[in-house]
Symmetry: C2
Subunit: 182 residues, 2 copies
């Protein structure tokens, strides 16, 4: 079996749960799927203007350098995040965008999933609080970086008590939305 | 003014809030004090047996490599965490331990703060949930890596609504406990 390694960045505005999303994805890999993971936030000037990003590396080998520089997967929930980070995505990387907020993206990217995450969260769950969890489902289905079972377990272990069921539904919806575009 | 750079690891058992503690410390530096910070979790085999660690680098310069290797500051809330991580602390680094759980530490370390965090949390606040926040106060006072004001602001921005006041008190108590030992 070949080495499996994914460098993933989740980006959006502050308050969209990108940090918790990164923690859940890393725990799905490390605790529930039993492979290695790191999760990093780098706060620079953008943290002070409300942008937020979170990075996860998942690997079945050792992770020596946890800073992502050549992304396999990029999630952008806002246009601002897309402008800031899109150049860090490999040309054959997977781009997942909130299609309601993110307009044009460079034509060199061919593996794109366009999903109006915030609109769907509002329509299906009456809240945008689950937008990060829907996005994790999308990342899981688009990449296979973690198993669906590990994702559900990690989600349920980290979200507030009483919200496990709605969050598992949100993750399942994200998986379904990507599978429909495959 | 010389460059200021702190490599800090928070360690304990799963459920002691080490990840949230790292996020709060990094945000105190980056959002409230206006300097750079990264915060990383590395999940390896130890994540599957309940140990937890979280790393923060705070710097007024650029942070090119966010993995801490030569720690300036190490917090250990359990004996297991101390055994696992103590060798990563510089000889002149600052060691902060839960003195109720952590017994012997290598004699080469001279800058040690011994505080029974869990016992104090239970006695003063009737809960161990604030143990991570008391520890952040201790780190702040022992190192000066972030300002007290930035720490209180970051704590209040991240803890659950309705618990801001108790958590600010917990941070203030951690600061006081270290100042008494200085």
């Amino acid at each position: 079996m070949g080495k499996k390694r994914y460098e993933i960045r989740l980006s959006g505005s502050g308050g969209q749960g990108m940090i918790l999303g990164g923690v859940i994805l890393a725990e799905a890999a490390a605790i529930h799927d039993g492979i290695n993971a790191t999760q990093t936030q780098s706060y620079g000037p953008e943290a002070r203007v409300g942008a937020s990003k979170s990075e996860v590396i998942i690997s079945d080998g050792e992770i020596l350098f946890p800073k992502t520089s050549d992304l396999d997967v990029l999630l952008c929930l806002t246009q601002k995040a897309a402008q800031e980070y899109i150049d860090d995505l490999k040309e054959d990387g997977i781009l997942i965008i909130d299609s309601y907020y993110v307009g044009n993206v460079p034509s060199k990217y061919k593996n794109i999933y366009k999903i109006p995450f915030s609109q769907i969260a509002n329509k299906e769950f009456n809240t945008t609080l689950v937008v990060n969890i829907i996005a994790l489902g999308a990342i899981c289905a688009a990449t296979g970086c973690v198993s669906e079972k590990a994702l559900f377990e990690a989600v349920k272990a980290r979200v507030p008590k009483g919200t496990q069921e709605i969050n598992e539904k949100a993750a399942r919806l994200g998986i379904k939305l990507v599978k429909e575009q495959k």
